[in-house]
């Protein structure tokens, strides 16, 4: 069975304050970058699975996100599964 690579994107739900993003936005402006409207900072995780079929992998990753990788109270998640 092949290796599977999943890319998981975890982002703050819209409307939830992102102090880090706000601060980075301010820093970019101070550095002279014009037109920065918004910065939101989330997580990008790369998970490598071995010996799991693509379908199982997809189901597993979904469950991992729900259980552990994202905090459903304040975060959304999205992921892609590909053969590595």
């Amino acid at each position: 069975m092949e290796m599977i690579r999943a890319k998981v994107y975890v982002t703050l739900k819209s409307g939830i304050l992102d102090p880090q993003g706000e601060t980075v936005k301010g820093a970019l402006e101070t550095l002279g970058f014009a037109g920065v409207q918004d910065v939101r900072i989330g997580k990008f995780m790369v998970i490598t699975l071995n010996g799991v079929g693509r379908e199982d992998a997809t189901r597993n990753i979904e469950e991992m996100c729900k259980k552990l990788l994202a905090n459903p109270v304040i975060e959304d998640y999205r992921f892609e599964v590909e053969e590595a």
Binding site: Q20, T23, V24, A27, T30, L31, I41
Partner: protein, 236 residues
């Protein structure tokens, strides 16, 4: 001696450094807001601990662009003394004034407690009155203190004796359990090649009075003062 303490937004150890330098050790010590562009002629600049810009993005990443940093670099280039403590160390690394980087503790948690560090070289203005191998009991207080440098950099640091402090046991041994944050080679503090810029994660200002549990961090401030006195014996 004249100390200048740089205050970034989110710094919080500036008053403590001032207390130790001024009230305990009787030196001049002024606070300098990070938006200043020029520095008076200070003998030694301190970048204190804290959370500049909330530690957002990466520790020290935003602070290195503060207006004052240009003047700090000039001061260092001219051979002036600069000491970064904790967050100050992180800022100096981001600014490229010191080699390496500080990453998240391997424990993944913030750690505030006493540790022991060993003086690895006395050939710096910051350790001149210490003995090589002397063990200091000084607290750490950080989330990102794991020192990292690539192999080439680390080799160079060793050749040049730029590793100034290492985490050790109370008896001075390099045991794994004495390394609180997973630092490469137990590194607790390094200096630049010219030896006038020091960064360290432990807080010597928190170990400057017996009433608070340890006075062994004083040796670092006293070394600086001693160095200054030796440079210009008449004026100090």
């Amino acid at each position: 001696m004249r100390f200048g303490i740089i205050v970034f937004p989110g710094s919080n150890c500036e008053l403590d450094c001032q207390w130790v330098l001024h009230d305990i050790l009787g030196q001049q010590a002024e606070l300098i807001w990070h938006k200043e562009q020029e520095l008076k002629d200070y003998d030694c600049l301190i970048l204190p601990g804290g959370f500049a810009h909330g530690d957002y993005l990466r520790t020290g990443a935003i602070a290195r662009f503060s207006p004052i940093m240009k003047a700090v670099e000039d001061h260092a280039r001219r051979g002036g003394l600069v000491m970064g403590i904790c967050n100050g160390f992180q800022i100096l690394c981001e600014a490229g004034l010191l080699p390496g980087m500080l990453l998240r503790n391997t424990t993944l948690s913030f750690i505030c407690r006493q540790v022991y560090m060993r003086v690895e070289t006395t050939e710096t203005p910051f350790t001149g009155t210490c003995a090589t191998g002397q063990v200091l009991r000084v607290p750490i207080n950080h989330n990102e203190g794991r020192y990292y440098a690539d192999d080439r950099t680390l080799a160079r640091l060793k050749t040049n004796k730029q590793v100034v402090f290492r985490y050790v046991t109370s008896a001075g041994e390099l045991f794994e359990k004495a390394n609180p944050n997973g630092s490469l080679d137990h590194v607790a503090g390094v200096c630049n090649e010219q030896r006038n810029v020091l960064g360290l994660m432990p807080h010597p200002e928190r170990a400057a009075e017996p009433l608070l549990g340890s006075a062994s961090g004083r040796a670092i401030f006293e070394s600086i003062i001693n160095y200054g006195r030796a440079l210009s014996p008449a004026s100090r």
